[in-house]
């Protein structure tokens, strides 16, 4: 369910995109250094975003050139380690592990097997990370338990399960400084809602087929993967309102080294992702960074 939060590349400056990529690589190296190969395997855009948001008033990022498996031939520009990358790496391991645990307990068929394998693979990395961030670990565990209970009961409200996931993510704001804590909490809350609900919408077809809980199906009592137009509009409105609220919260954060990149992600990347998920084009843009610049301004995304 991760990887939804990404920049809208056509509107980025070249240096912003390069910095973003370097930060992505930086998080990957951080995961590798601290948690080994298992850590690297869970790398995703969402936690790059978190690392950038937690940057606070730290000095500008430092870069270095490093080799890695996909970049064997040519060294790549990578962010040097920083406390916010370390925290984001730890949090991502904890969250990925508990998500897999949940899947192992609740999933069916191939999903259950896959989750069990991920669980075993991540266990060591998880023990390390949980030792370092026990509070976050406890919070994730508690929230995901509550979420699983709601899912088992087939909760018909969209907001209740989304609240659990959103609260879990907003807890990460505790790693930020005093000044940005409140807006960041609100920002992450709404981003968490968006991730949970967009993922629910995206998985609708699969979940209906396998019989897993799906928040969108439960809320609108859907039996088939076809979503009526008015329901689609409503969900789009709900998600966009959350996006607006997270942007409003973002405006109240102090300016940091990463502000121009995070502004692109919240202001353009997230709304673009939402539109793509709702109109069904997300599947095609999911891999890699979204779309070529030729895509910009095209009519494809018009409603």
């Amino acid at each position: 369910m991760f990887g939804y939060v990404r920049p809208y590349v056509p509107e980025m400056k070249v240096r912003e995109l390069e910095r973003f990529r370097a930060c992505y690589c930086g998080l990957c190296h951080e995961l590798g250094r601290e948690y080994g190969l298992a850590g690297r395997s869970i790398l995703n855009y969402d936690f790059v975003f978190l690392a950038m948001l937690l940057w606070g008033d730290r000095p500008d990022c430092c870069y270095e050139y490093r080799r890695c498996l996909p970049g064997l031939c040519r060294k790549r520009c990578v962010c040097q380690t920083s406390p916010s990358l370390t925290v984001a790496a730890g949090y991502s391991v904890i969250l990925a592990y508990w998500k897999a645990r949940d899947g192992r307990a609740d999933g069916r068929g191939a999903r259950k097997l896959g989750a069990a394998a991920v669980c075993a693979f991540l266990h060591r990395a998880y023990t390390d990370a949980a030792g370092r961030y026990p509070e976050f670990d406890a919070q994730v565990r508690q929230r995901l338990d509550a979420l699983a209970a709601l899912e088992r009961a087939g909760e018909p409200s969209l907001d209740k399960p989304a609240h659990e996931f959103a609260s879990l993510l907003s807890f990460a704001a505790n790693a930020a400084g005093e000044e940005e804590k409140r807006p960041l909490e609100q920002l992450l809350y709404h981003v968490g809602r968006i991730i949970y609900l967009a993922d629910g919408y995206f998985d609708l077809e699969d979940d209906l087929k396998t019989g897993n809980y799906n928040p969108v199906a439960a809320r609108y009592a859907l039996r088939e993967p076809h979503v009526p137009e008015n329901v689609r509009e409503e969900i789009l409105g709900t998600l966009m309102s959350s996006a607006r609220m997270s942007y409003a919260a973002f405006q109240l954060m102090p300016v940091s080294y990463w502000t121009s990149v995070t502004e692109n992600i919240i202001g353009l990347g997230i709304p673009d992702m939402i539109r793509a998920v709702i109109d069904g084009t997300y599947k095609t843009v999911r891999r890699g960074l979204p779309k070529s610049p030729l895509y910009a301004g095209g009519g494809e995304m018009e409603q």
Partner: protein, 204 residues
């Protein structure tokens, strides 16, 4: 107080024009309209006050003391008054509105739960409560009910509109969205006509 130039994010030797521009942009960003019913409204208000003060300090010091800066400060402070709730018909509802406005959501929820009537305004207030919590889907359901019970109430319709708006998400904040960039709206048309007019004038 911190450096007023830093607050506005500009260089101390910026021109008056640049100062004004920076101030206006920030004032638009923190405008109370962007934070109606938002749990962070107080923070936005604080920021607004900060930039108003910074702007006043700069203009006053540039005008050499006391001269003429007052007009700006009054213009700025006009931004501060966040749109308060309209008067309520039922005293119990007035209390709930107050609790909502002050951010005491738990108390507001208690009052709403114990309220004997379930009329349009109750539904609206429930919606407001959920909106503040960030539970936007439930908020919409309540606003919808309020509007269907009292279709001509402007306040309820406005609230429903805010929560169901899907397009042009960040227009208030002055940030274009990719979906609107390819389009050709009335403003573009207007600008195009103005340009044509200018060119035609130049030919003569």
């Amino acid at each position: 107080m911190s450096d007023p130039y830093k607050v506005l994010g500009i260089n101390p030797n910026a021109s008056d024009e640049e100062v004004k521009k920076a101030y206006r942009e920030l004032a638009k960003k923190y405008h109370p309209d962007n934070y109606t019913d938002n749990p962070l409204a107080d923070l936005a208000q604080e920021k607004m006050k900060e930039i108003n003060e910074a702007y006043d300090t700069i203009t006053r010091s540039r005008k050499g003391g006391s001269g003429g800066a007052g007009s700006y400060s009054s213009g700025g402070s006009a931004y501060q008054g966040a749109g308060a709730y309209q008067s309520a018909s039922n005293p119990a509802y007035a209390q709930i509105r107050q609790a909502l406005a002050s951010g005491n959501l738990q108390y507001a929820e208690q009052l709403l739960d114990s309220s004997p009537t379930r009329d349009a305004e109750w539904n609206f207030l429930m919606g407001s409560l959920y909106y503040r919590k960030g539970w936007l889907d439930d908020a919409r359901s309540f606003f919808q009910r309020a509007v269907s019970m009292e279709p001509y109430n402007g306040e309820y319709r406005q609230a429903l509109n805010t929560v169901s708006q899907a397009n042009s998400p960040y227009r208030q904040a002055g940030y274009g969205s990719p979906a609107t960039q390819g389009g050709f709206d009335m403003c573009d048309m207007c600008t195009a006509m103005m340009c044509t007019q200018m060119l035609c004038g130049g030919c003569r």
